[in-house]
């Protein structure tokens, strides 16, 4: 029994399986009504309705920001937003996708920027025009506190901007709503890079390993592996020492290849 279910399930690919008896509901794509199964995401519902995407579809997994969508529900003045690939349809939703929204992206040289508020002032001065209306936070499909990271930027707290914008997918919805014409997500990208470049310390261990490799330390070890007969190579592979999951304080016994 289980076996037939499984074999069948394997053939379904990404096609959403619509369960028996699923209710069909009306949605309005740019004002035009289609009936779609109520279990689908907006993305799959539009495909069900007959659309074939060129724009507004990238990762299909909630991380690329291609499928930003805004919608209203009948009889409700509120404006909602979501990612089409992640948001399930609702009856009588009026939606439009925003595949692109122009935003100012400044070209800069990361090596020449200081690690303080002047970096933001010289690149994205419009940031300081923010009137704290919160429209960006409300529209962000990733539920980021966009207005708060703008405030952090104005304070010059670059690390806070980096942390608060960590899961920004650069969909552009915040920019589309901003009365002060700021370019929140490009500014945040700048801050993340500044934080990575100057705020986080460089790894000494990585630098040391790069030097060791340049000096040729590991060449003989790899050549040794390359010259081994297959059986011997397999033996080494099987016998390699395994660092435990909770490895605090663990040291490998074999040290000659370190």
């Amino acid at each position: 029994m289980t076996t037939t279910v499984a074999k069948d399930a394997m053939r379904k690919g990404d096609k959403t399986v619509i369960a028996e008896g699923t209710r069909m509901i009306p949605i309005y794509v740019m004002g035009k009504r289609y009936f779609v199964p109520e279990t689908l995401t907006i993305q799959k519902a539009m495909e069900y309705a007959g659309y074939q995407f060129i724009r507004s579809c990238g990762c299909r997994g909630g991380i690329c920001g291609a499928c930003a969508t805004v919608y209203r529900l009948e009889g409700d003045y509120k404006l909602y937003s979501g990612l089409a690939c992640q948001t399930v349809v609702q009856p009588n939703m009026y939606l439009v996708q925003i595949p692109f929204f122009p935003a100012n992206k400044v070209a800069y040289d990361i090596e020449k920027l200081p690690y303080d508020v002047t970096a933001i002032q010289t690149t994205y001065p419009e940031t300081f025009r923010c009137v704290q209306c919160n429209a960006c936070t409300k529209v962000c499909p990733m539920d980021l506190q966009v207005m708060d990271y703008m405030a952090a930027a104005i304070r010059g707290d670059i690390e806070a901007v980096a942390e608060m914008s960590r899961s920004c997918i650069m969909c552009g919805l915040c920019t589309s709503r901003c009365p002060a014409e700021t370019n929140q997500y490009n500014m945040a990208e700048l801050c993340r890079r500044l934080y990575g470049r100057y705020g986080q310390k460089k790894s000494q261990q990585v630098a040391k390993r790069v030097e060791e490799i340049k000096a040729g330390k590991y060449d003989p070890m790899i050549e040794e592996l390359q010259s081994l007969p297959l059986e011997e190579l397999k033996k080494r592979y099987e016998e390699r020492e395994w660092e435990p999951v909770m490895s605090e304080g663990w040291e490998p016994k074999e040290t000659k290849y370190l």
Partner: protein
């Protein structure tokens, strides 16, 4: 949708065995790893690659009669005609001219563009969707590099080659391990954010098949962080790097001497074809999950349709290891909206165990991916201890609540924010309830044959990233792909610049190889309406299609 009452009932069995399993993990006791021999046996019986039905050999081109059989979905793309008729294309008036043309704006392509530019090149990136809509941006877990004091390139090499069943090309592996720390340092210098200790050292994690903790990450958005960083840098260099979006390449153009000389692009919006003339071409088109091999769901982005390998093959460049496809052991199997979605290996690294309907362990959680997948398929198909979903899919539990029990309350939400939200939306709290998972199509493994500089047998034609075959042999380990796209992107960019600087004079441009390919198809008796590269998969409603009475489809596109 939240778990059904029936499923909730079943979850109780998982909860019943959980405390004891957590205790065992704390003591370092896990389900035993399979021996090499036993792994091989499992793979032969359960891994989809070893199924005979739905596979066939290549009848034309450089891989004809190479002794392997390939999935039908793959061979179909090669037993297909070009999107264009070479007779009607006028190559004498290029729309763009550049030093280096990069096909594919994902991770490998963008890294290649940066290094080519640094070496004095004018670069065009032609890409199918937006710059960065790619598998790279989806990668979550991390990037490998042997830089810890308890680790070295020696072990990295052993892990890679063992994980690939000793089939990998040794030179490609060597370069991958030795360039790795350099790449991490480069990403650091560009300002990529890593998970670090306050003194700047990397917080390293283990991965499937790796004997040391070697995974560098940025939460569960590592790929996105890499892509955002390098894309931003490419945009900073816009004077030299031009990006053409929604303009995939459909054929490589050669010159009369057989050198790479550009590509024919298809503007998907205006439906016109444009010609790019270039002194060197780097193909970085990524993987093929959207072929849905054997009907599997996939983790890949919308444009992962193997285009690069098809285009290179028409130029006469062979591919390797395409007979081995990587299924990620843990793709979401519930809720329906999330099916196929990747559940990163890091969940298992952090302590979540795969368990069956009775809450029992049945596999070492961190076997190499193919073995782990085979074990899960076996548990569902043969042992019969899978968990069915309301629509007839099946899966096993991935016991994520163990993570908080092992590492402290809040770990799941903090370390896996994206996944936490993606399930929370449907009323599933993965820090308290397990996930239902099943293997999903994930990685190409094989690809175009090239050397350690990404050079193919065609002068001036390079490849880098997932489209390059041989680095991982028959099976890639987590974290080595984000690494290879940078290692080989960098190398291809540098070597392409060197090649151009040697002084390249292009002769007359030609699509003669496409003509020859069409001829070969005919001579092999392959009569078909299929066309390739595919460009985009077709998910439109077949009932609607049937009613599009005057539309003409060209492959999957109208």
């Amino acid at each position: 949708m939240a778990y059904t009452p029936e499923m909730k009932e079943l979850i109780k069995r998982v909860e019943a065995t959980r405390p004891e399993r957590v205790e065992r993990v704390k003591q370092g006791i896990q389900f035993p790893k399979l021996s090499l021999e036993e792994s091989q046996r499992r793979l032969k019986t359960y891994h989809p690659d070893y199924k005979e039905e739905g596979r066939r050999e290549f009848k034309i081109g450089p891989n004809k009669g190479d002794g392997h059989s390939y999935p039908d979905e793959v061979v179909d793309l090669f037993e297909a005609k070009s999107r264009i008729d070479p007779e009607i294309v006028d190559l004498s008036k290029p729309d763009y001219e550049t030093d280096v043309l990069i096909i594919g704006g994902g991770g490998a392509g963008t890294t290649a563009s940066l290094f080519a530019q640094e070496n004095g090149m004018k670069v065009i990136i032609a890409t199918k969707l937006r710059h960065g809509d790619a598998n790279t941006i989806m990668a979550e877990g991390g990037i490998q590099s042997a830089d810890s004091t308890k680790d070295s390139p020696y072990y990295h090499y052993l892990d890679i080659i063992g994980g690939g069943h000793f089939t990998n090309k040794p030179e490609l592996v060597k370069v991958l391990t030795l360039d790795a720390p350099l790449i991490i340092q480069w990403l650091e210098s560009l300002g990529m954010n890593f998970d670090k200790t306050p003194d700047g050292e990397m917080r390293l994690l283990a991965g499937g098949g790796t004997c040391r903790k070697r995974m560098h990450s940025c939460g569960d958005v590592t790929g996105a962080e890499i892509m955002r960083t390098i894309r931003d840098e490419a945009r900073n260099r816009r004077d030299d790097i031009t990006v053409l979006e929604y303009q995939p390449a459909v054929e490589i153009i050669l010159d009369e001497d057989g050198k790479a000389a550009g590509a024919l692009l298809y503007n998907m919006e205006t439906e016109e074809y444009t010609i790019v003339k270039a002194k060197a071409v780097i193909i970085t088109t990524g993987g093929c999950g959207r072929l849905h091999i054997q009907g599997f769901a996939t983790t890949n982005h919308y444009g992962a349709t193997m285009d690069g390998i098809v285009m290179a093959y028409r130029c006469g460049v062979p591919h390797c290891f395409l007979y081995a496809t990587q299924y990620h052991p843990t793709g979401a199997a519930y809720p329906e909206q999330n099916v196929g979605l990747l559940i990163t290996e890091k969940m298992r690294t952090a302590g979540a165990q795969p368990v069956n309907i009775d809450g029992e362990e049945f596999t070492f959680p961190l076997e190499p991916r193919d073995v782990e997948s085979a074990n899960i398929i076996r548990e569902c198909m043969d042992v019969g201890k899978g968990i069915p979903t309301p629509v007839g899919r099946i899966g096993v539990w991935l016991d994520t609540p163990m993570i908080d029990m092992l590492r402290g309350e809040g770990t799941v939400e903090h370390d896996f924010p994206a996944k936490y939200i993606q399930f929370k939306r449907y009323g599933i709290d993965i820090s308290k309830e397990p996930l239902l998972v099943y293997p999903t199509l994930h990685y190409q493994n094989g690809g175009v044959e090239a050397n350690e500089w990404g050079e193919t047998k065609i002068p001036g034609l390079f490849v880098a990233g997932e489209v390059l075959g041989g680095i991982h042999g028959e099976n890639r380990l987590m974290g080595n792909s984000l690494l290879d796209i940078n290692v080989y992107g960098r190398r291809a960019g540098i070597r392409a610049a060197e090649y151009v600087k040697e002084g390249i004079t292009l002769k007359k441009l030609t699509l003669e190889h496409v003509r020859a390919y069409h001829k070969e198809l005919k001579e092999a008796g392959i009569e078909t309406d299929r066309i390739s590269p595919m460009l985009l998969p077709d998910y439109s409603n077949p009932e609607v299609r049937a009613k599009q009475l005057t539309a003409r489809y060209f492959g999957t596109l109208r």
